[in-house]
């Protein structure tokens, strides 16, 4: 049957408009809108002494200038702490416009509205803000030392102390045959979607209603925030995510100051107002992620089996904590990966610094957790002189141990109980795919060519599809068109295609008849958002349930017409028919017409449903009790807990000892996200994730100086990978369906990025024989490391030196 498209590499339905220039991104909307621009703080930490706008007032085209003094009611209060947590003891958020103090370079101080963006920026240039500079805190170590405070009333700079433990770790560590401790660092990177953020707002004064377009990952929640902050009734606010040019996490944070200020100005001025973030604003005014200091102690036995793990992490949350401690929690709980850890204790201290806020970036704390765990495995193997794959294998959770309870609490407040997986299976496939057992031969070959070759691997488990819920609505029209909507947004994941595949398969209709709308509060008002690899799991299942509801109703109505039992009917290619009786059928579009009893006919199709068109049962109402008109159904999927996807990556690097350039010559991925809706899309997600993983490991960092100035806030200086930096990727798949949801699927969006830093650190260490304890690493840093008398040689390198193999 052609309608069974679940699992097929269906070509994307969104592509037609995107390849012909007909996409509709935020800045493509509102040609006549006024433009907003912002004066942002040039200082990392300062008091605002005065704001002088006199010189700006005579700029032709200026419409309005707003400072904190112009904010009233809820707008004058701090921005919300989106995800409160009992262990977030000192949350802090900024104001929509700075209220007397700035805490990072880029914090908005003044909003200007003018006839166009050029003029608005002219005005910004003429506004003079006088600051009194305050001491600056940059980096986790400075925050921890607490010589200066980011927020005066928090002298230790600690926002939260997140603590979980599964038993008494200290006696087990003391009793372990072996133990080792080490400290490592991971630096900041950022999502860097190709389209920055942006907001367009239009106020209808006659209707007292507001329509906002925003480049967001959470339109329903932006709507609620705007209504609350601007004192509007929810029913008077519509929020729509148009085509969104990438998100990767940064657009899940909300409300951004601009998402409140632009609508505020649109209402005040009675004009459309738009703000499109420029690249520099995105660097200094959005969000970053990843920076942590990790102190790790592990106990293990002579076979490399872990007995206890004790981890203390210092996490840089930047100037404010609008997104709570989600990233620390995710690091803490996903760190254990695919391994059975008998006793585990983790403490994450989340600290303030005078830098851009830290909120989820694809992986959202998982890359750091994976880096901690996998580098621990490497250290154990190195100490014992064992194969790194073997040490991992000995610690893996076995396929017969599911569901596996880690006795930890995940980011959704639910237990970390792995639902299904086959981790030994991943490892076997990975070793085959990358040629793990060939490594020493490859190393010798490379040595003969004057290159240093190393291999590394990293495994991960990724909690995906957290609740609380998503919903789906499916409606069959009299034309035969099937309208599908979900409140969750899209940023390039191909939801229009994947969700249409699900509906076509569940309902038995041609995919061409299915139209999907996402992230539009006019169509679906209840949603959580697109993050944590949850769209396919959450909205996919909700939509499947909604389609099943429609199917059930269609069969019931058709059974009446065809004088058959619903159980004897099937739907194929949009035709409801009696199984095995060709010709006994009714089109689904006709069923849709009949589902809505009419008084008035407006076209031929509608005539069939009018009151004199067909005889009815005089003793029954046209709409049965408990039934509703229309062939439609709304349903929700709300899981008891997250479903856990998994995977394993391996990399082979070749390093040129003349330049210390690091060349990733092979990159292998084994991936398990349960049942796959569209393998082409999943593979695309893996490709993109790996590119970000490689970027994060070798190129990308946010280079702050001691004054809190971001030194590389442009694409010239922040090195995002081009095609030349991304290796070819070999992918193998494994499918262990989730028992938790009707479709058996697990999320796939973030997977590709998670193990990159860990696997590449391992491979580089293997190549050069020196401990790699700080990532990312550049050729210059590698050169310095190898030349430094203080750098530590690995035991493996020593053993190889003993056997005459070049270290």
């Amino acid at each position: 049957m052609t309608t069974k498209l679940f699992g097929e590499p269906v070509r994307r339905r969104e592509d037609q408009r995107l390849i012909t220039g007909k996409g509709r991104y935020l800045d493509d909307i509102g040609h006549t809108a006024l433009a907003a621009a912002f004066v942002r703080s040039p200082h990392a930490h300062a008091r605002i002494v005065s704001i002088d706008v006199d010189e700006a007032l005579d700029v032709e085209g200026l419409v309005a200038i707003y400072t904190y003094e112009d904010l009233t009611g809820p707008m004058a209060e701090p921005l919300p702490v989106l995800i409160p947590h009992p262990q977030l003891h000192s949350p802090r958020t900024g104001f929509p416009l700075a209220n007397g103090e700035v805490n990072h370079v880029g914090e908005p101080v003044v909003m200007v509205v003018a006839t166009d963006r050029y003029v608005a920026e002219d005005v910004c240039d003429r506004i003079v803000v006088t600051y009194e500079e305050l001491p600056v805190v940059v980096g986790v170590d400075a925050a921890r030392a607490a010589q200066h405070a980011v927020h005066e009333e928090i002298p230790d700079n600690i926002a939260a102390r997140h603590h979980q433990e599964t038993g008494d770790v200290e006696p087990v560590l003391a009793a372990s045959p072996r133990a080792l401790s080490f400290t490592q660092y991971i630096e900041r990177s950022a999502c860097m979607p190709m389209e920055g953020k942006g907001v367009h707002a239009k106020w209808d004064a006659d209707d007292s209603s507001l329509r906002v377009y925003t480049s967001t990952q959470a339109s329903t929640s932006v709507r609620a925030a705007i209504a609350a902050k601007l004192d509007l009734s929810l029913d008077k606010v519509e929020v729509i995510a148009p085509d969104v040019g990438g998100g990767f996490g940064v657009k899940i944070v909300h409300p951004w100051p601009e998402e409140l200020l632009v609508p505020m100005a649109a209402i005040a001025l009675g004009r459309e107002v738009k703000w499109a973030e420029d690249r520099r604003e995105h660097f200094i005014g959005s969000a970053h992620e990843r920076q942590q200091r990790q102190e790790i102690t592990v106990g293990y036995d002579d076979d490399g089996r872990i007995t206890a793990l004790d981890v203390h992490i210092w996490h840089d949350n930047g100037a404010y904590t609008p997104y709570g401690i989600i990233v620390p929690i995710v690091t803490a709980t996903q760190l254990v990966g695919p391994y059975a850890i008998p006793v585990y204790r983790v403490i994450v201290e989340s600290v303030f610094t005078n830098t851009v806020i830290v909120t989820p970036y694809r992986g959202a704390g998982r890359p750091q957790g994976c880096y901690a765990m996998e580098r621990t495995m490497d250290r154990i193997a190195d100490e014992l002189g064992l194969d790194r794959a073997l040490v991992r294998e000995r610690n893996l959770i076995q396929p017969d141990q599911f569901p596996y309870d880690h006795h930890l609490t995940f980011q959704d407040g639910r237990p970390v109980i792995y639902d299904s997986g086959d981790y030994p299976g991943l490892l076997v496939k990975l070793k085959d795919l990358v040629g793990w057992d060939e490594a020493s031969r490859l190393r010798s070959d490379a040595e003969a060519r004057g290159k240093l070759l190393g291999v590394g691997m990293a495994l991960y488990v990724e909690g995906t599809g957290p609740g609380p819920y998503e919903g789906g609505h499916v409606q069959v029209l009299g034309s035969g068109k099937v309208l599908v909507s979900t409140g969750l947004t899209s940023q390039g994941q191909g939801h229009e295609t994947a969700f249409a595949q699900i509906v076509a398969s569940e309902l038995g209709v041609p995919i061409e008849d299915v139209e999907v709308t996402t992230g539009d509060t006019r169509r679906f008002g209840y949603a959580v958002g697109t993050f944590a690899s949850r769209a396919a799991v959450m909205s996919g299942n909700a939509i499947a349930l909604a389609a099943r509801g429609v199917r059930e109703k269609a069969l019931r109505i058709a059974a009446d017409v065809l004088e058959a039992e619903p159980a004897d009917l099937e739907i194929d290619e949009g035709l409801v028919q009696v199984k095995g009786v060709p010709g006994t059928s009714i089109p689904l579009r006709t069923v849709a017409v009949l589902s809505n009893p009419l008084r008035y006919a407006f076209d031929e199709a509608a005539r069939q449903a009018t009151q004199f068109a067909k005889p009815g049962d005089d003793d029954k109402p046209p709409i049965a009790e408990g039934d509703a008109p229309g062939l439609e159904h709304r349903d929700y999927y709300s899981p008891i807990r997250s479903t856990f996807a998994s995977g394993a990556h391996a990399a082979i690097v070749e390093i040129d000892p003349a330049t210390w350039e690091i060349d990733v010559v092979k990159y292998a991925v084994v991936h398990d996200c349960g049942n796959v809706v569209n393998p082409m899309i999943v593979e695309g997600q893996v490709h993109g994730g790996v590119a970000q993983g490689v970027g994060g490991a070798l190129y990308e960092r946010m280079a702050y100086d001691a004054d809190g100035q971001l030194q590389n806030a442009s694409f010239m200086d922040f090195l995002m990978p081009y095609a030349s930096e991304v290796p070819d990727i070999d992918i193998d798949h494994q499918q262990t369906p989730s028992p938790l949801n009707p479709l058996g699927i697990k999320g796939a969006g973030e997977a590709g990025v998670i193990p990159g830093t860990a696997a590449l650190a391992s491979a580089i260490e293997d190549a050069v024989g020196r401990r790699i304890a700080s990532m990312p690493i550049s050729p210059t840093e590698l050169y310095d490391l190898v030349r430094s008398p203080d750098s530590e040689m690995t035991a493996t390198a020593g053993r190889r030196a003993g056997t005459g193999v070049m270290a």
Binding site: G21, G23, D27, Y118, G688, S714
Partner: protein, 172 residues
Amino acid sequence: MTSIDTERTITVTVNGVPREATVPVRRLLSDALRHDLGLTGTHVGCEHGVCGACTVVVDGAPVRSCLMLAVQVDGAEVRTVEGLAREDHQGGQVLHPVQEAFRECHALQCGFCTPGFLMTIAAGLEARDNAEELTEDEVEDMVGGNLCRCTGYANIKKAVHHAAAAMKDADA
């Protein structure tokens, strides 16, 4: 300041159609295309010439429209992503082989960088002899100057091969 100092009226052929626009002299070509001429298919990703999302073809050569002023294209021919497909005789559209290849090879996700890649690759493929076998170096050259944050480039490179093969077949 008067408009004589700050504005110019330019005539430019965009996608085969002569257009006239009065633009401030400091107006970027990218902004003029998007906001004055309403051709929003050209996207702006960095405004400092690095990402390539704004690439359009001016007089046959791909350029970054965020690094050109609109007044510089006075009298020139500009081709944007909107002009890549051609009209068929039934009022429909025939996609350019590069557009077809991008869809076929899943070479786009969010689609924001896509117009820049399409214009760069289309110009590159149209400038070469399609009878010649496309080398990997040529592919790297064509895609190597544009940034994409979604795809990891693998499928974009695949699409270049796909498009080249289609153009070779069409010529044969």
